[in-house]
């Protein structure tokens, strides 16, 4: 469950990315986040994953108030969240397999159990044959899938995706959306941001529309 309670985020320099925002995403819900670039979508996702902290108001994730949590506790919150980053944040110095292994290493999984999970995650996103490939050899769509595999390999209860369909053609983008839907169907709370609303409307899910840090009419 994610709950925003009168959340404002002001960046150093005075830019207000979010203004007095309140909403709730229930456990197991799949919600889209729409708005032009600069509307505050990325900031909202960063607040949920504890990468940024709210200037005022409360951000509750899985019943923990991130605004009141000590910095040393934030990593444990992140370990229950999967994030598909807008810029992927893939490590190019290691294989596809080792990229997906990273979250499990961080949580401290048993090696053999972890290897099984990595293979399952890669299989799920359709990269089963590319374990030993270096990420630089992957296409843009494949890199996106790699990032998704890394976000779900530790079976998080919340999955965040920041513009996952950007720079992909429509067929590929639909594939990716289907992938997110399948995670939602097994009970994961999914929050996806995009600026292309036509893709969302096909799914009939709730859409949170943002404009200049507030709900758009």
């Amino acid at each position: 469950m994610i709950r925003f309670d009168q959340v404002t985020k002001r960046y150093p320099g005075g830019h207000e990315a979010l203004r007095n925002l309140s909403f709730t995403v229930e456990s197991g819900e799949m919600v889209f986040l729409a708005g032009h670039s600069g509307a505050g979508k990325s900031t909202l996702l960063k607040l949920v994953s504890g990468i940024e902290r709210a200037t005022s108001g409360n951000v509750l994730v899985n019943n923990q108030n991130l605004s009141k949590l000590r910095a040393s506790q934030l990593p444990y919150v992140r370990q229950h969240i999967g994030v598909v980053f807008q810029d992927h944040k893939i490590l190019f110095d290691r294989t596809v397999f080792d990229n997906v292994m990273l979250p499990l290493d961080i949580i401290g999984f048993d090696r053999r159990d972890a290897q099984r999970r990595v293979r399952a995650a890669l299989d799920k996103v359709g990269l089963a044959g590319k374990e030993k490939v270096m990420p630089i050899r992957l296409s843009g769509g494949e890199q996106q899938r790699l990032c998704i595999a890394r976000a779900v390999v530790h079976r998080p209860s919340i999955l965040l995706a920041d513009e996952p369909s950007a720079n992909l053609d429509r067929a590929y983008a639909l594939d990716i959306m289907e992938l997110f839907k399948s995670f939602h169907q097994v009970g994961v709370t999914v929050l996806i941001s995009a600026h292309d609303e036509t893709l969302m409307e096909d799914y009939g899910r709730r859409i949170i529309r943002l404009r200049e840090g507030q709900f758009a009419a």
Binding site: P12, I51, E52, P75, V83, L91, P103, I106, I107
Partner: protein
């Protein structure tokens, strides 16, 4: 708990593999650390060897009590009895003035001394061997003995022993001072190598933090790397100092035999090796910890 240990074993293993994967560059690093360690360790070994030899030497100094020429047998008996009961006197030997004259004649080859002099100019003497004592205590003993009745002079050349003792003490302090300086160097060298590693893995660290890595997870591989680096360099230093002793000992033994001493540079005892190993590891880890903490503080998300 078992799982926790498993994770640490895993980190230790991968840190070692990382060192072995770049043997040449890391060997240079290890050698640098080992040489830095070897300097104070060698000095320490030299000083403690010297202390062992001088401990043997210190038992030999003797105090010679020359009696007044006019002393009577009763006086001699009085001095003898106080020497016999003195707690700091290990042994003593009485030299009759006639025996002393005879010895002088023999040594100098001048058989006619006594004839020319008419009477024996030499005094009776006691040669006293003290218990093993500190130079200061020896001085005290000498003063005390010279105060015995009818003793003209208690002669004891303590100056050389005191000088030697002072020099050894100074060298010992120098060894510890050097050790402190090189301990600092150990921390700084490790701080630097780990800082370079952190810079090389900056991206990995940033991504790891984004997906839930704790600070201790980020630090762990660097701490283990430093621990290996410190431990291996301590072992290398052990080898260096043993090699040095092995090289120096034949020449030293020959030199010492001129003075009738059996002298050998000692090598590190197991307990000392262990202490050096742990010390080097801890200092290295301290350097790594400081470097990692600095990086983590600087890159704290807002």
């Amino acid at each position: 708990m078992k799982h926790y240990l498993y994770l640490h074993a895993q980190s230790a293993r991968s840190a070692l593999l990382k060192i072995l994967r770049q043997p040449f560059g890391n060997l240079l690093n290890l050698l640098m650390l080992a040489i830095a360690l070897a300097l104070p360790v060698s000095l320490y070994l030299g000083v403690s060897s010297l202390q062992q030899w001088t401990a043997k030497l210190n038992t030999t100094p003797q105090i010679t009590l020359f009696m007044e020429l006019s002393s009577e047998p009763a006086d001699l008996a009085a001095v003898e009895s106080s020497l016999k009961h003195h707690p700091r006197v290990a042994a003593y030997r009485f030299v009759h003035k006639d025996a002393a004259l005879k010895e002088l004649e023999q040594r100098s080859g001048l058989n006619a001394i006594s004839e020319g002099l008419g009477s024996n100019p030499l005094p009776h003497a006691f040669i006293v061997t003290p218990q093993p004592l500190e130079p200061a205590m020896l001085d005290l003993l000498q003063k005390e003995l010279s105060g015995l009745p009818m003793v003209e002079l208690a002669q004891f050349d303590a100056a050389w022993a005191r000088k030697l003792h002072a020099m050894i003490t100074l060298a010992g302090q120098l060894a510890w001072l050097l050790a402190a300086v090189f301990a600092l160097a150990m921390v700084l060298i490790n701080h630097n190598t780990i800082r370079m590693q952190i810079l090389a893995r900056q991206e990995e660290i940033a991504v790891s933090k984004l997906i839930g890595a704790t600070d201790s997870f980020i630090r762990r591989p660097f701490l283990y790397h430093a621990a290996w680096q410190g431990g291996l360099s301590a072992l290398l230093c052990w080898g260096l100092s043993s090699g040095l002793a092995y090289q120096a000992n034949p020449a030293l033994a020959e030199f010492a035999s001129l003075y009738g001493i059996d002298a050998q540079l000692r090598s590190l005892q197991p307990l000392e090796v262990l202490a050096m190993l742990l010390g080097a590891m801890l200092l290295s880890m301290l350097g790594a910890r400081l470097a990692a903490d600095h990086h983590l503080r600087k890159n704290q998300p807002a």
